[in-house]
């Protein structure tokens, strides 16, 4: 056992806020144990020292928004035995996928003093649109407990336990009172992938959909319920177009709720 080579872990960043990588550094209590089991060979957020590949497990944060990204991700795939995307950007294109519904040149002309310096693609796309992905971990940001579960599962060759059911089940398991039923608060929980532990409803807020679409969902029916509760059509569209705007069930459904301002 002792002679077994530690598996090599690499962390990569594309278009993202770094929050998901930070979840790895957030594993303060478990980080030393993790470093004993895996060789953290490339993790620029933590250290400039890198060890060249190949890597047993690559964690990829961020979406593909430039031609250079599109090249680099192929290289990452080439040097990685397993490639796991972490977070909404890498899995669904992130908040920056809002450009997919508009003209990115118009955005650039408003945001940057010299838009000519900006070389960017017209779309923000998930990693799986470019290379085969072994597993996608949801969340904006990801949950550190789930991240450890996924890393542990991959280094031990087992299936990670990250259920794809709705957030509602997490609310019920922890005994949280349904904010839609008991308070009339619009909540995305019934269509949102579990994983966060149902944080917002435990503070009497509706779910924001940070973990993207659940495995099984009926956006049309929830949308109707929101409209009946007095939520304007455009607001239904806007909640579907947030961190997981590029996830197909959300992007398709959002079209049904477009209004004049969209």
């Amino acid at each position: 056992m002792a002679a077994a080579r530690r598996k090599r872990l690499a962390v990569w960043k594309f278009a993202s806020c770094d929050g998901c990588q930070l979840s790895l550094l957030d594993c303060e209590d478990e980080l030393l144990a993790l470093a004993e089991q895996v060789e953290i060979a490339r993790f620029l957020e933590a250290s400039r020292a890198t060890i060249s590949g190949p890597y047993d497990l690559s964690l990829v944060e961020g979406s593909i928004t430039t031609a250079r990204d599109a090249e680099l991700i192929r290289e990452v795939r080439r040097v990685s035995r397993a490639l796991v995307t972490i977070g909404a950007c890498a899995t669904a294109g992130g908040i920056q996928a809002l450009r997919n519904f508009k003209d990115v040149r118009e955005f650039a002309s408003i945001v940057y003093a010299t838009p000519a310096y900006i070389a960017t693609l017209a779309t923000s796309t998930p990693i799986a649109a470019h290379v085969p992905v072994d597993f996608e971990l949801r969340g904006c940001p990801i949950n550190k407990r789930q991240l450890l579960e996924v890393i542990t599962a991959f280094i031990n060759g087992r299936r990670p336990d990250t259920p794809g059911h709705a957030v509602c089940i997490e609310c019920k398991q922890r005994g949280t009172i349904c904010v839609m039923v008991a308070r009339g608060v619009p909540c995305l929980g019934p269509i949102t992938h579990a994983g966060c532990g149902a944080i917002c409803p435990s503070f009497a807020r509706g779910c924001y959909g940070c973990y993207g679409p659940a495995d099984a969902l009926n956006i049309e029916s929830l949308g109707q319920a929101w409209l009946r509760a007095g939520v304007p059509r455009g607001d239904v569209m806007r909640v579907l177009r947030s961190f997981n705007a590029g996830a197909e069930p959300f992007s398709k459904a959002a079209l049904d709720y477009e209004d004049d301002q969209s």
């Binding site: 450890l148 280094i155 336990d161 009172i177 009926n218 029916s221």
Partner: protein
Amino acid sequence: MLPGETAIVAAAALSDLLHEISRLGYTLVGPTVRDGAIVYREIHSAEDLPAGWTDVQQPGSYRLARRADSALFGFAVGPHSWKQFLHQPAVTLWHAQLADQGAVTFAAEPPERKRLALIGVRSCELYAIATQDKVLIGATYSDPHYAARRAGLFVVAVNCTVAGGTCFCVSMKTGPKVETGYDLALTELIDDARHELFIEAGSERGAEVLERVPRRPADGRAREAAEKAVRATAEMMGRQLETEGLRELLYANLENSRWDEVATRCLACANCTMVCPTCFCTTIEDHTDLGARRAERVQRWDSCFTTDFSHLNAGSVRSSIKSRYRQWLTHKLASWIDQFGTSGCVGCGRCITWCPVGIDLTEEAAAIRRTDLRSQTGREA
């Protein structure tokens, strides 16, 4: 006092009664107001009960409301059921340890020996517990964690003096009057002149507890007042479900187009199964630590509404929401009878109230009855 005997206890003396129960080593769990609902959680005295509160329930809607009086049990059932405590959301079943020499040792997680006193159990809930008993404490297979918690119970039942907007225990013949399975059964009698509890001892333990609190003998008038209050509740049912021939009706209507219609509304969110006091399904998940030295198996609530639930090696057996809703309803109201000898539904109405889009199983069953495929094809019903 003996089982079957009755007494009148002043509402103000309920704390004494609860104190006597906790003195026997029980942890008290009962209704209390929290986060806009009446939930079940650990309580310490009658002070924690929802005095003066009631609830207004409709499909997909629950609101707390103030009563004109200070009744302690003047509400219907809320979002929690006793399942939370008996068939817990997550239970570690066993763990395994890898020794340096390569030997693996397994150890079952011992059941928690916690003795709970459930305060304010309604008749439908006693039926729900009896229903889960049939599933989880079988002759051949028994869930040791459930069985241990179940064995340690002290039950203070309450006869319902109000019915909720989604209640239909009368249809299911599960209430509102408590019949069996309790240590003490209370009926709250409240009007301008009095606030008292008519209490019936259902066991020796119950009788012993009752003996230790200030009380007076219950006369025939008190019993009549208690029975009248429960009869009035039976007249107030918010819903009804026609159970005559229901099993055969559902079996004959697996292709009824109503399933397609309800599937357009069903969110497949699983809330109905989570709040149902009889739904018992679980999944098991195995976890390892980073170094693969220690593993554990955890049992968690699961639901027939998730796609993982029926996932076999080629995918989910019930991939459409239609097939999952049909599975749930036909199991609850029909095939449960074949499996366990009773309906899986106790008429508590939780699945109706706590469905975020207000799907009402009594209405779905009625709709199927209205469009019974047997009458449409001209065959005998």
